[in-house]
Structure formats: C-alpha cells, structure tokens
C-alpha cells in the first residue's frame, strides 16, 4: 500500500521535473487518442444521426449490433487490424505496422461503436417536439438537425469524453499494433504495461496517475466549454 503513496510522490516528481521521456509519452498518448476521437466523431456523429432520424426495417437490429460492439475486446481489435496491415496482409503495402497510425486505426475502430451508439441514445433523448419547434420556427432540414444535435449536446459531449477515455486507456490494440517502440509508439498505457512486467510498480502507478490526470483535464475542459455555450 505504500506503493500508492510512493507512486503519488513520483508522479508529481516526474511532472514537476518535466522528465522528457514521460512528457514525450504523455503527449504522444494525447495526440494519438485525440486524433482517434476526432476521426471517429467526424464519422460516427453523422452516421448516428442518420440511423436515428431515418426509419428503416432492421433498425432495431442495427442498434443492437452497435451496442454489442461496445464490449469489443481491445486485443481482438488489435489482432484483426494486425492481420490487415501486416506486411503480408492485404494492406501491407501501406507499411503501417508498428507505427502511431496503426494505433490510431485500432483506437478508431474500437471507439466507433460507442460513439455511434451513444450519439443515437443522445438524440433519442431529445423530445420530438424540438424538431417541430425548429421547423415551425423557420429552420431548414439541416438547421433543424443541428438544433436537435445541439439540444442533445450534453449527452453527445458525454459520448465524446467516453470515447476519448476508452481510446486513451486501452492497451491491447496499442501494444499489438504499435509494438510499444520507445520513442515512436510508446504511449502511457503500453509503458505502464511494460513497467509492470519489469517489476517497477511504482513507476507504473505513477504513469497511471498521470494518465488519469490527463483524462480528468480533458473531461473538465470539455465540460467548461459546454457550459459556456
């Protein structure tokens, strides 16, 4: 139990002394997961809107499938993507294996179901009357859709924070696809994994504390921005 206290102290030390490797790893984690959430959001929020606003046969089934994939195991995603982007796989020519891009791809696939599904949930929570109110106030279809999305903004931002959290905290895919290469694809989670295996538990915990702090800062920032608008 004293490890936790030691870890707390060490994490503060690492941050205050601006340890270059820790900063590098942290920024990389942030950058990679930031890219992942951005790409996923650009795709999933419109698609979620599409599914929600459009009635089609099998809609319930589609939503169920999306929700099933909330629990996609990260290492399975890693394995599947590996088979594709390995040099001897169909996308081998792109030379993506063991690169940060590969990690981004893995994370995007991982968080797409969550982001899509929760966008649909968020939009479902908006009263149907909002659509009528927007339209009768003179909104075009596009403006009305934006009004509904804006009405659901707290839930949508919640989904984004969740997606980001899932991306920045996953190990399986990042390890498999990035290779945990020092100075290139090592991120906080893979570094924690390595330090744990090496037996340096205090350092592993310290990195963990830094990871949680980053996630907290992101969450708080997004909520502050939300309150402003």
């Amino acid at each position: 139990m004293q490890e936790i206290w030691q870890a707390l102290v060490q994490s503060v030390n690492l941050i205050v002394s601006l340890d270059p490797e820790v900063i590098q790893i942290s920024l990389r984690s942030l950058y990679i997961s930031g890219c992942s959430i951005l790409i996923a959001a650009l795709f999933c929020i419109p698609v979620g809107g599409l599914i929600h606003f459009h009635d089609f046969s099998g809609k319930r089934v589609v939503i169920n499938i999306i929700q099933t994939f909330y629990s996609l195991p990260t290492v399975v995603v890693g394995l599947m993507v590996f088979l594709f982007i390995s040099r001897s796989g169909p996308l081998g020519g792109l030379e993506l294996m063991f690169t940060p891009t590969a990690v981004v791809i893995g994370q995007v696939i991982l968080i797409m179901p969550v982001l899509t599904g929760m966008t649909i949930s968020a939009l479902s929570g908006v009263d149907r009357a909002i659509r009528d109110t927007a339209l009768s106030s003179g909104a075009s279809n596009a403006q009305a859709m934006w009004a509904i999305l804006f009405e659901a903004r707290f839930a949508v931002v919640g989904a984004l924070i969740l997606g980001f959290g899932r991306a920045i905290s996953e190990v399986g895919a990042a390890l498999m696809l990035g290779g945990n290469i020092r100075g290139y694809t090592r991120i906080l989670t893979t570094a924690i994994s390595l330090e744990t295996q090496r037996g340096d538990l205090v350092l592993a915990l310290a990195l963990g504390i830094i990871l949680i702090s980053i996630a907290m800062v992101v969450s708080i920032t997004m909520n502050i921005l939300l309150q402003r608008y």
């Binding site: 009357a129 009528d132 109110t133 927007a134 009768s136 909104a139 804006f150």
Partner: protein, 361 residues
C-alpha cells in the same frame, strides 16, 4: 381577402381517416378558432397548414400561393408562418436564445436581433428573464416564451394548437390577451385551436367546428353557440336540456311543442306535426317561488331533484314533467333557500328555446 384557404383537405394515418374534405377560408387580420373535441383532428389540421406534414389529398393556398404543390419551397412558406404547440416547447438554452432562434435561422444577427428580442420580452412580461435557462420556467412562462418566439419574426400567420390547454386560469388570460394584442397591433392573422368554447367565444372573430375530421359548421361565435347546426354540435358547445317532441300547434310563429306532457311555447316556423329537437340553455331558465314573477311565456311548476355547486354557480335540476337543468348563482340558492324536494316555478322565454328539425337517427 383570404390569407389562407384549404380545399378538400384529407389526411390519413394507416387505415383511419383523420381529416375529410376540410375546406375553410381565413380572412387576413382575423382570429379564427377551430374548436372540437379531443381527437377531432385539430392538431392534424394545423400541422398540415404549417407544412409539418403532407396531406393525403387536397390543397392549401397561402396568400395566393399553393403551398402543397411539390415545387413550392416549404421552408420559405413556413418562414412566413409561426406555430405554438400545446405543450410548451423550449430549447435547452437561455430565454434569449429561444426567442432569438427564428431570427438566427433566417440569418438576422447583431443589433437588430438583440433589440427585437428584448423588446418582445418586455411585451410578454418577461423583461429581466433574458439570461434565465428556459427549462427553469413555469408552464405559463414557457408558453409566453414560445409565443414570443413565434411572433418575433413578424409572421403573416400565427398558428396556435390549444396553447392554453395545460395552463392555470391566470396564465390562460395572459396568453389570450397577448394573442389579441398581437392581432390588434400588428394585424396578425391567427388560427387557434381549442376545446374550450368559452375561450373561442372570448377571443375569436369566427369559429370553425371540427368533428371526427369534418368541418361541420363555420360562423361567428354567436351563430355557433346559439344556433348550432345539429345535435352533435349543440352537445359539444354545452347545450343542455335537449328534448325531442312534436309541434302540436303553430300560431303566427309561436309553435307549441309537447314535451313530457307539458306544452312549451317556442319561436319557430316549422309546420305542425314536425318532429323536432329543442334545446334550452340552463342560464336562460329563471327560478321563482311564485308563478307570476316574470314575463316569460313558459312558466312551469316543478320540484327540485338535485343541486350541484360549481364555483360561484349552482346547477339546479328540476322536474317539470321532464328534467330541466337550471343555472343559478350560489347567492340565489341561499337567498331563496333552495333545497331538494322544494316546489317552485321555472320560467323561460319562448325565444330562449332553440328548435331544430329532428335529425333522422
């Protein structure tokens, strides 16, 4: 000049018919009320006019333009109208943002927007509420915001779907006064649906009665309430004391009708032996302890079977050979010492009896 006309409007939901051959015409600058029981199709009609839904058949002509035509720009047409719904619908945002929304979607920003919104907030009595979260408002306040949001863009037509159905009397009055004020000051044409007959009577210039998807009568409030076209309308607008009978004598327009063994004198041109339905409004009947107290032609001896208080009024049911509902003030009840079983006289004018030919069953 008619600003809005519907021609044989039809609407269906699956197999059931919601609206059938509805044709009405609303004059510019008037307040037109659509009344009818729940499920009559009032909301359906208004949604069609606002182009929120497409009709199964029929046309809507707005200011000379056929807006149900597929080539018509829906958004453009809608932007000249505004609608307030039964349930106060506000965006999860500030009051200001709610009222400013229609301006924003039309591209009006900046100072114009600001002054228009603030001015309107003052008008509706929510001057200091601009930065309040709209979700924290009471029902009445929210509905006022919805109303402001509707009129801020100075529409040509305002549609109100039972706007006061969920509000308390104070707020009902406020909304009604604001609607009438906007109509008066801006020449704003209003189509309002309601199931409250008294409201229609207070507010509207003309009334259309919608029943089971059909427009059964259109006219001035007086026409509807005092000369309903048939028994169904009469029942809806609050006619009590409906009876069937035959005209036994007709002398110079005074028809005598036998109801429950008693002779009732009415004003009617219908010939003798016509089967008729008559209606007498409860407030047109006067109760007195003696027979000679009034100049009315009908003075019937009767006894009180029950009393029922509603607020400051009391409905007294008497047996005159047929059951008659009479509306008197509570004060009168006390002053006359009315009680069950008491014997007294009920009198009403011949002109107070509405006579209609009997509808074949």
């Amino acid at each position: 000049m008619a600003i809005l006309e519907t021609m044989d409007l039809e609407q269906r939901a699956g197999a059931s018919v919601l609206l059938s051959k509805v044709s009405l015409s609303v004059e510019k600058g008037e307040i037109f009320a659509v009344i009818g029981p729940t499920g009559a199709g009032k909301t359906t009609l208004l949604r069609l006019i606002n182009l929120l839904d497409r009709p199964a058949a029929g046309d809507i002509i707005f200011d000379g333009q056929k807006i149900t035509d597929p080539s018509c720009d829906t958004v453009k047409a809608r932007r000249r109208m505004a609608m307030v719904f039964q349930k106060p619908a506000v965006f999860n945002n500030t009051v200001y943002e709610n009222v400013a929304y229609p301006l924003k979607v039309r591209g009006t920003h900046g100072k114009t927007e600001k002054s228009a919104v603030h001015q309107l907030l003052e008008t509706i009595g929510l001057g200091g509420y601009a930065r309040r979260k709209a979700k924290t408002l009471s029902g009445g306040e929210a509905q006022r915001v919805a109303l402001a949001r509707a009129v801020v863009v100075k529409p040509d037509l305002l549609l109100l779907d039972e706007p006061t159905a969920n509000l308390d009397p104070v707020n009902v009055k406020m909304i009604e006064e604001l609607v009438m004020r906007f109509n008066r000051e801006r020449g704003l044409t209003v189509i309002m649906s309601t199931h409250d007959m008294q409201q229609a009577q207070r507010v509207a210039n003309r009334i259309g009665v919608l029943m089971n998807g059909q427009l059964v009568q259109v006219g001035r409030p007086g026409d509807i309430f005092y000369s309903p076209d048939n028994a169904r309308i009469a029942g809806f607008v609050g006619m009590r004391n409906m009876f069937r009978g035959y005209i036994v004598r007709n002398e110079l327009g005074i028809a005598v009708i036998n109801i429950g063994g008693r002779d009732i004198q009415t004003v009617s041109d219908l010939p003798v032996e016509s089967a008729v339905e008559i209606y007498i409004r409860p407030e047109d009947v006067v109760l007195a302890m003696t027979a000679a107290s009034s100049s009315a032609r009908n003075n019937l001896r009767c006894s009180i079977t029950s009393l029922s208080s509603i607020g400051p009024l009391c409905t007294v049911t008497v047996d005159c050979g047929f059951p008659l509902e009479v509306l008197v003030t509570d004060k009168s009840v006390v002053e006359m010492g009315l009680s069950q079983g008491q014997e007294l006289y009920a009198s009403f004018k011949a002109s107070a009896v509405r006579v209609l030919p009997s509808m074949p069953r």
